[in-house]
């Protein structure tokens, strides 16, 4: 065993760090909810362009698609640095979801058409999977796509579509065969968000931010050439996400940043009521969080390592997702405890410590254990696929 990164990887990590130091404003505390304000979004677009110029958007892509074919570990390090710095600029749907799917299932024409704009940071994608009636049970989805000549006609609604109000294109799963078993009648379509018949309704989350949406499809016509893979095989096409790193390292990086912010804040305010000396309970709690964060980070590194050895992480990714997102919630909660009465102040308040970031993180992290597979579903996967227990 050897926990050291290669010199190459370390150099790269420093490059990324240096770049982010230079590009992010000096007082940058990070705005992870950048889709909710125009300023945030514009900054995200600017960063995206710069990352594209560096070639870092396509770090993991094969050379034939203009990528850098960087090692899995370098990708892990890159994502870790980005998350720690709360840097915007990555369109995860375009880069990590659409691209690998097209590389495996796309036609030559689709690759030519869709991959370069993603690599250059010119488009924004979103994911149209969940529906009001289909969350964890995604395969029960009802949005219909019916063939009419050279086109599909789409009717139905998608919900919780992150960045739907900012996106140019949507990766859509729709039902094309209503008689087939539920997994076998689903098709993946790529849909231009400007197509007539699409409307996007904002949904404001409990932290008061507009990040996700409900998207309605009313006789939306989609050319057949935007079909990915085979008709009715969309469920399996959609499951092709395995090519790039899936370490989940961003969770521990985000949590580590929150802890570092808190520690910095405590040190900057000696002998104030944020001083933890003599408050064993909170000191222990913060120490626990630092310990858990390191545990999570190691789980992630191992996933990266497995992938770099050609293994497909499965229960490991689910373990990482459930443990780390629940840990993130505990970290936010600990921060709120440490800030005491000040913790309840929102970012607008002149009295708000760390510009209200802990308060916002606390509220936003209620969704961490839900989005991209709930904790319960992750545990089901660990138990059944991982441990071989019978399915419910």
């Amino acid at each position: 065993m050897d926990f050291k990164f290669s010199t190459e990887e370390e150099t790269f990590q420093n490059d990324v760090n240096g770049f982010l130091k230079q590009e992010l404003p000096s007082d940058w505390t990070g705005e992870t909810a950048y889709a909710s304000s125009d300023d945030g979004w514009n900054f995200n677009l600017k960063m995206k362009k710069k990352l594209a110029e560096k070639g870092w958007l396509t770090l993991g892509w094969p050379k034939e698609y203009g990528g850098m074919e960087a090692s899995i570990m370098s990708q892990v390090l890159f994502n870790e640095q980005m998350a720690y710095n709360r840097a915007p600029g990555i369109d995860i749907w375009g880069i990590k979801m659409l691209a690998p799917t097209l590389m495996v299932h796309g036609t030559e024409e689709q690759k030519q058409r869709f991959l370069p704009p993603v690599a250059n940071g010119e488009v924004q994608w979103c994911q149209g999977y969940s529906e009001p009636g289909s969350g964890s049970d995604l395969a029960s989805l009802q949005t219909r796509a019916e063939v009419d000549g050279d086109e599909y006609v789409v009717n139905g609604t998608k919900i919780w579509t992150s960045n739907g109000h900012r996106a140019d294109w949507i990766i859509l799963l729709a039902r094309t065969d209503t008689d087939a078993p539920k997994h076998r009648g689903i098709t993946m379509l790529l849909v231009d968000m400007k197509t007539p018949g699409i409307s996007v309704n904002p949904i404001v989350n409990m932290a008061g931010m507009h990040e996700f949406n409900q998207v309605f499809f009313d006789n939306v016509r989609v050319p057949k050439r935007n079909l990915v893979g085979e008709e009715n095989r969309g469920w399996y096409v959609g499951a092709t996400l395995l090519d790039f790193e899936r370490s989940g390292v961003q969770y521990s990086a985000e949590a580590r940043r929150t802890i570092d912010d808190l520690v910095g804040f405590i040190k900057d305010n000696p002998s104030s009521n944020f001083d933890l000396s003599g408050r064993e309970h909170l000191r222990n709690r913060l120490a626990d969080m630092a310990i858990e964060t390191e545990v999570s980070r190691m789980i992630s590194y191992n996933i990266g390592f497995m992938q770099s050895q050609g293994f497909v992480p499965n229960k490991e990714a689910s373990i990482c997702k459930s443990f780390s997102t629940e840990m993130e919630q505990r970290v936010a909660e600990t921060g709120m405890h440490i800030l005491g009465l000040y913790g309840q102040l929102t970012s607008d308040s002149k009295w708000a410590p760390l510009r209200g970031r802990i308060e916002r993180t606390f509220l936003r992290h209620h969704s961490a254990t839900l989005a991209s597979g709930t904790s319960e579903i992750q545990r089901n996967i660990i138990a059944t696929r991982g441990l071989g227990l019978p399915r419910a």
């Binding site: 009636g133 029960s140 404001v204 309840q344 209620h366 839900l370």
Partner: protein, 377 residues
């Protein structure tokens, strides 16, 4: 032992629920979050007519003369319905300590007005030091003839924006301690030298900063004795923390109820999600937490109401309920999926308030420390 409510108490509880179902719909709760004053005169007058504002005020001052325990029963319902407005500040805190510590003329002047809904009051203890310990009080009151002059800042004062009078805890003796260094003043909102600035908070409740610059208060407006103010402040913290527990219990119970309703209804994989063991365990854990809240909370309130020593019970209750309610909300969110994360769904109204309630009158860390001290460790 009898852990039930008697007939009068049941009547109070049931009628409170009926009234609030009618008069305090969630649309009102939401509107009041956006409202500057945070309450409607209509609901306030209604509560006055029902006798709620004077519930624990003695009859000779226009109240109902009921006990602190009875008041708590009402609070479980106001907590459940998220009743907006200064009920807690005015009735639970201010009217209680005015009754206990006020002079005859203060009581006959103020209490009837509280009971009939004409006067809103609040208590200002905390400062930028953000602690409920006496060493956090820096606001000074200096004697000047027959007046006192107040200088300093109060922070996290509930309902200060709308209060007619504010009961301010000040330091009157620089070298004094809890037994002789603090005094409480009854400060009229129109006194010059006060600047009140609202705070933006997680619960969108109406808290404020109050800056006192040479605010002159007549010695007639001292509450209780000069130098003995920390006893009053301590009493406010005791009443406040135990009563908060009951309010939180009402909210937690409603969150459990909402969640159980939802998981029975929501179908995934062809069956209600409430049929999955994972969700059943979540609900079981919530029910366990709520049950735990109920009896520690009522025990603390009961001891206060009976005039028994209650410090340990109060702190056990506030430490437990603060953590338990937050857990209940968190599991509630988890069981709801994404819909519970939206602003439109009602769950978040409880979650955001649970955090503010957890912080009020000492969070779990603060009270756990007191429990440890009570244990002699």
């Amino acid at each position: 032992m009898d852990l039930g409510f008697d007939e009068v108490q049941m009547l109070l509880k049931n009628s409170a629920r009926e009234v609030l179902e009618q008069e305090c719909p969630i649309t009102l709760v939401r509107a009041m979050e956006e409202d500057e004053r945070g309450f409607t005169s209509e609901l306030w007058q209604n509560m006055a007519e029902l006798g709620w504002l004077g519930l624990s005020i003695p009859e000779q001052y226009g109240g109902q003369g009921m006990s602190f325990f009875d008041l708590a029963i009402l609070l479980e319902e106001t907590g459940r319905f998220l009743v907006p407005g200064p009920f807690f500040s005015t009735v639970v805190l201010s009217s209680s300590i005015l009754t206990e510590y006020g002079t005859e003329s203060q009581k006959s002047e103020i209490l009837p007005k509280i009971a009939n809904g004409d006067l809103i009051a609040t208590v200002a203890i905390t400062e930028p030091s953000a602690t409920y310990e006496s060493n956090g009080i820096q606001l000074t009151a200096t004697k000047d003839g027959s007046n006192y002059v107040l200088n300093g800042t109060k922070l996290f004062v509930n309902d200060a924006q709308i209060a007619d009078i504010i009961l301010v805890v000040a330091k009157t003796d620089d070298k004094g301690d809890e037994s002789n260094g603090f005094t409480v003043f009854i400060v009229d909102k129109n006194t010059s030298g006060m600047t009140i600035t609202p705070l933006d908070t997680i619960a969108s409740d109406k808290q404020a900063e109050i800056v006192f610059e040479s605010v002159s208060i007549s010695e007639e407006n001292v509450l209780g004795e000069v130098g003995k103010g920390w006893d009053i402040a301590k009493r406010v913290i005791d009443l406040g923390s135990s009563a908060k527990c009951i309010e939180m219990l009402g909210g937690a119970d409603r969150v459990l109820e909402m969640t159980v309703e939802y998981v029975k209804d929501r179908t995934q994989f062809g069956r209600p999600i409430g049929s999955f063991q994972a969700i059943q365990h979540h609900c079981a854990n919530m029910a366990t937490d709520v049950e735990g809240c109920r009896y520690v909370a009522y025990h603390a309130v009961w001891r206060i109401s009976e005039g028994l020593e209650a410090q340990k019970e109060i702190s056990i209750a506030k430490a437990w309920v603060s953590d338990a309610y937050r857990r209940v909300c968190a599991i509630g969110h988890q069981s709801h999926g994404a819909i519970g994360f939206t602003k439109e769904y009602d769950l978040q109204l409880y979650t955001r308030r649970a955090k503010a309630q957890e912080l009020a009158f000492g969070d779990s860390s603060y009270h756990r420390e007191i429990v440890a001290q009570q244990l002699g460790i």
